[in-house]
């Protein structure tokens, strides 16, 4: 199973949400790393091997959008899925324009979540294939 072994990073300040999300993803066969803040994930996250990042929009300190800005500067961009407790259109638009995979409002169903994750994994694969092909052409 391709999803098996895919590494997913979850960033949310709410421990309860983190735990539930990580459980759901694990039950679907993903490997999950959780962090409580953007700073935490930047310092300790294994971003290089992560297939995607699920991040809360609002957190104490830098939020999801700030994290996205930083990750965009990293070569080989990691797909990002935003989750939020109080969705608002401007934030969603901003996130999507910046290349977010999806913008999920809490509470979301497993189908929504997995759909977004699959999309992200696909994106990730595509970008790495492109990278590999480019490598071969060279």
């Amino acid at each position: 199973m391709s999803r098996n072994g895919a590494r997913i990073i979850v960033v949310d300040d709410d421990i309860s949400v983190r735990r539930a999300l990580s459980r759901l993803l694990i039950s679907a066969g993903y490997r999950v790393q959780t962090f409580e803040s953007a700073r935490d994930v930047l310092m300790n996250g294994d971003l290089g091997r992560a297939a995607c990042v699920i991040v809360d929009v609002r957190m104490p300190g830098p939020g999801g959008l700030e994290l996205q800005e930083i990750l965009l500067q990293v070569p080989g961009p990691i797909p990002i899925i935003f989750i939020t407790g109080n969705p608002d259109v401007p934030t969603a638009v901003k996130a999507m324009m910046a290349g977010a995979v999806d913008f999920l409002s809490k509470p979301f169903s497993e189908e929504e979540l997995f759909g977004a994750v699959e999309q992200a994994l696909a994106l990730r694969r595509a970008s790495s294939d492109q990278g590999r092909m480019a490598h071969r052409r060279r």
Binding site: D14, S16, V17, R19, A20, L21, R23, L24, I26, S27, A28, R58, M59, P60, G63, I83, T84, G85, N86, D88, S105, K106, P107, F108, S109, E110, L113
Partner: protein, 852 residues
């Protein structure tokens, strides 16, 4: 009676020239008479009237005019004596005559209190000693020396003859002349016919007796008084008669007549003194008459003195009687009768005293510089009028100093009393007495009596009596003034009482109602009933406040409390009404209390309405605040919901596995329960804030309350990128308050703080919330932001309704916060921070005994 007729400085209204002429004529006639009454060849006369006439003149005239009268007598002296005597002797004799008159007049003025009166023993003895003995004695030495030197007569004989002739003259002529001039003829005219008859009988008897004594019996009254002569004894009854019945004046006249008859008879070498030597005969006659005259004069004076004393006593008695009738008339006089009675009694007093006018002047009670004058004159009461104080400044001044003014003549007025002098001239006032009307410390006015006309003066001694009359009038006026004031004050009080919308009742010390006003409509509590008992009755009927009210009123009546107040409800026919009752002690010796009853239903309703409006407004602003917080609240709820959903779905997946990990599933379920609880708490907190509760004071911990609100706003702070620092006091801050309202205040302050920083850079958005215990008595909560702070000069406006700096704000948040905090007995205020932003704080008292 209290007015006497007096001469003024002239003799009885004669002009000075006429008086001078009269003196000259009298002197001349007296001198001619003296010449006739001589026993030639001796120069001195048996009776020498000119000297006595001079003495009488000087006694009746002021000292400063004496030289005039003496000068007037000189021509008369020369005219009478030059034809008879050598000029040198004539001049010398005039000098000695003047000396005698001067010694007598000056001496009498020196010794006697009233030199022209002979109505007391003291005055009479003074006259006899000084005027009738010393003066002739002294003046006879130069007189005799002159005659002896110029005529060669025997010094001792001349001295003796002159001395006795002048003694006799002075004794008889001076009193007669002085009294005739002083009392004048009016007295004679006023006498009753019976007195004339008596005087006639006396005169006839005296004439017959004198003739019998001194004259030739065979010629005048043949056979009637035959027998041995009875020297002087026959005359005595008649002289006594005159002394007793006609006083010193009558006696004087009789003595003159007797002396003349005796001298005429004696000089005619007939009668009892028919001795070979003329000088001896003269001497005998003079000694007889003088010795008879002196005791008789004294007797007459004593009798006159007694008569005057008894008359004074009778007058005094009549005055006292009048005074007592006056006091009786005024003592219980109603104030309304006062002015009528004043007019009546002014008249009575005036008539009784024989006054020409009597005035009572009262300082006006309304116009400070006016006197209200009521007056009486013999023609009747004079219409009352007002006199300005400046019209009688001197008298006004004297009255204010409580001085009695006694003016016997206009000359007695002090030089600066111009206005008064003018008034004297204007009204023809001769004399007056003014006594102050005193009432305690105050002078109410003055009582003035007086005479008009040149010859009517008031007697001194009745000033004292007048003061007593003034006292009666003053106390009557004072009482009238007090009654008027009391009536006015009573009227005002009752007007105030009846105008009150409050029901007012006055209780005596037993609680019995003694008076009520018109607004007093308490059922079953009428005048005469016991109000405390009425409350006991209410208490028995089941009203819980009845017992408290009865106890409170009783405590005020017993002076155990200064006041008592209570509010209670009572049903009237239509609805429940609120009443407020205030009980205060009645400040009077007998004690008692005043009850004031007010229907405060309207006020209560207004208060309730205001409270309801405030609560509604508070609720509304709370709801609108919460509306603004909707996003953050959604976040707050979505977090647990998201966790629950994910957990549930994860659980389902685990169960689908071939070998479900039951431990994991248990853990999932436990997390779900926790999250569900968490969501429930959020809902609960919200519901509390949204609840439209009635104000309810409970004991609560401000620390916990603040912590809850901070938690509630946690999501909002997150959304707004605001960091919140909470620093709660170590000790619990237990206050009495309404939880929802206080939460609202904290919520308002926190939301405001976050709003204030909307435009600040994210890293500066910090709200610090602090709770602390100040001085063990006060809990303080402060919320500090880092926004732009409060605009200078807006501090006062911040808490006003509708003051806002936010584009969408209503301006009600701080206003409501203030009314809530003030309703909790606290204070709310705002200050700018030293560096940046503002701090809003509120403080409220720690619940008693809760602070540790």
């Amino acid at each position: 009676m209290m007015v006497e007729t007096t001469g003024n400085n002239r003799i009885q209204g004669w002009s000075p020239a006429a008086t001078l002429l009269a003196v000259a004529v009298a002197y001349y006639v007296g001198a001619q008479l003296g010449f006739i009454l001589r026993f030639p060849p001796t120069t001195p006369s048996v009776l020498w009237p000119p000297n006595s006439i001079l003495t009488a003149t000087l006694l009746l005239t002021p000292v400063r005019r004496w030289w005039l009268y003496l000068l007037a007598a000189l021509p008369a002296h020369l005219a009478a004596e030059l034809p008879v005597l050598p000029p040198l002797l004539v001049i010398g004799l005039f000098a000695t005559n003047c000396v005698e008159a001067l010694v007598a007049a000056a001496g009498l003025r020196w010794f006697s209190d009233a030199p022209t009166r002979f109505d007391t023993l003291r005055r009479m003895v003074g006259f006899v000693l000084v005027g009738a003995l010393v003066a002739p004695f002294v003046s006879s030495f130069p007189d005799a020396a002159l005659v002896a030197a110029l005529r060669g007569e025997s010094y001792s004989v001349v001295w003796r003859t002159r001395f006795f002739s002048n003694v006799l003259g002075a004794l008889t002529i001076v009193p007669a002349v002085v009294m005739a001039v002083r009392n004048g003829l009016p007295n004679l005219r006023a006498a009753a016919p019976r007195r004339y008859l008596e005087a006639g009988l006396l005169a006839g008897g005296l004439f017959l007796a004198s003739m019998g004594q001194f004259g030739n019996r065979s010629e005048f009254v043949p056979g009637l008084l035959a027998g041995p002569p009875a020297p002087a004894a026959v005359l005595l009854p008649f002289l006594l008669w005159s002394a007793v019945r006609f006083g010193p004046g009558g006696l004087s006249v009789c003595l003159i007549a007797t002396t003349l008859l005796a001298v005429v008879a004696g000089t005619g070498e007939s009668g009892i003194f028919m001795t070979p030597r003329a000088a001896e005969a003269v001497l005998s006659l003079q000694i007889l008459l003088s010795t008879m005259t002196i005791p008789l004069m004294c007797l007459a004076a004593v009798i006159e003195e007694r008569r005057q004393a008894s008359e004074a006593l009778a007058t005094r008695l009549r005055l006292e009687e009048m005074l007592s009738r006056l006091s009786a008339a005024f003592v219980r006089l109603p104030g309304t009768e006062m002015h009528r009675a004043l007019d009546e009694w002014l008249g009575r007093v005036g008539e009784h005293l024989g006054l020409d006018w009597i005035v009572i002047a009262e300082y006006s009670r309304t116009e400070a510089d006016e006197l209200v004058v009521r007056a009486w004159a013999p023609s009747g009461p004079v219409k009352p009028r007002t006199v300005a104080r400046h019209e009688v400044p001197w008298a006004d001044d004297q009255l204010r100093q409580r001085q009695t003014i006694a003016v016997r003549a206009v000359g007695d007025l002090p030089p600066h009393a111009h206005a008064e002098r003018l008034m004297f001239r204007l009204y023809g006032i001769r004399s007056c007495i003014v006594v102050p009307l005193e009432a305690g410390e105050r002078v109410l006015g003055g009582l003035a009596v007086g005479t008009t006309g040149a010859d009517r003066a008031l007697r001194e001694p009745f000033t004292g009596w007048l003061r007593l009359v003034a006292e009666v009038f003053a106390s009557a006026l004072e009482r009238t003034a007090m009654e008027d004031a009391l009536r006015a004050s009573e009227g005002m009080k009752s007007a105030i009482l009846s105008s009150l919308s409050n029901g007012v009742a006055v209780l005596d010390s037993d609680g019995t109602i003694i008076a009520v006003n018109q607004s007093w409509t308490i059922e079953g509590a009428t005048v005469g009933s016991n109000y405390v008992a009425a409350w006991h009755e209410t208490a028995r009927a089941g009203a819980s406040h009845g017992r408290d009210a009865a106890a409170g009123i009783a405590a005020v009546l017993a002076r155990e409390r200064d006041s008592f107040a209570s509010e209670y409800t009572a049903r009237d026919s239509t609805a429940e009404r609120w009443y407020s009752m205030v009980v205060v002690p009645l400040n009077q010796p007998g004690g008692g209390a005043v009850i004031s009853h007010t229907d405060v239903t309207e006020r209560k309703r207004a208060e309730e309405n205001a409270q309801r409006s405030r609560e509604e407004l508070a609720h509304f602003t709370r709801v609108s605040t919460m509306g603004a917080l909707a996003a953050s609240l959604a976040h707050e709820l979505n977090q647990p919901l998201a966790a629950i959903l994910s957990n549930a779905q994860a659980g389902r997946r685990f169960l689908d596995a071939a070998r479900p990990d039951l431990g994991e599933i248990r853990s999932i379920l436990s997390d779900i329960v926790d999250d569900d609880k968490r969501a429930g708490e959020v809902i609960e907190r919200l519901r509390e804030l949204f609840r439209k509760g009635e104000q309810e004071f409970v004991s609560l911990d401000l620390n916990a309350l603040v912590r809850d609100v901070v938690k509630l706003l946690g999501s909002d702070a997150l959304i707004r990128r605001v960091r919140m620092h909470l620093d709660v006091a170590a000790e619990p801050l237990i206050v009495a308050g309404d939880r929802i309202q206080l939460q609202q205040v904290v919520l308002n302050l926190l939301v405001n703080a976050m709003d204030a920083m909307a435009d600040c850079p994210t890293e500066e958005r910090v709200v610090s919330v602090q709770t602390e215990l100040c001085d063990g008595q006060t809990a303080r909560v402060s919320v500090q932001d880092a926004g732009p702070g409060i605009l200078t000069g807006q501090d006062d406006l911040l808490f006003e309704p509708f003051y806002t700096t936010k584009p969408t704000g209503m301006g009600m948040g701080l206003s409501i916060s203030r009314s809530i905090i003030e309703a909790h007995g606290g204070l709310i205020w705002a200050t700018n921070n030293p560096v940046r932003g503002a701090t809003f704080s509120f403080a409220m008292p720690i619940r008693n005994g809760a602070a540790t």
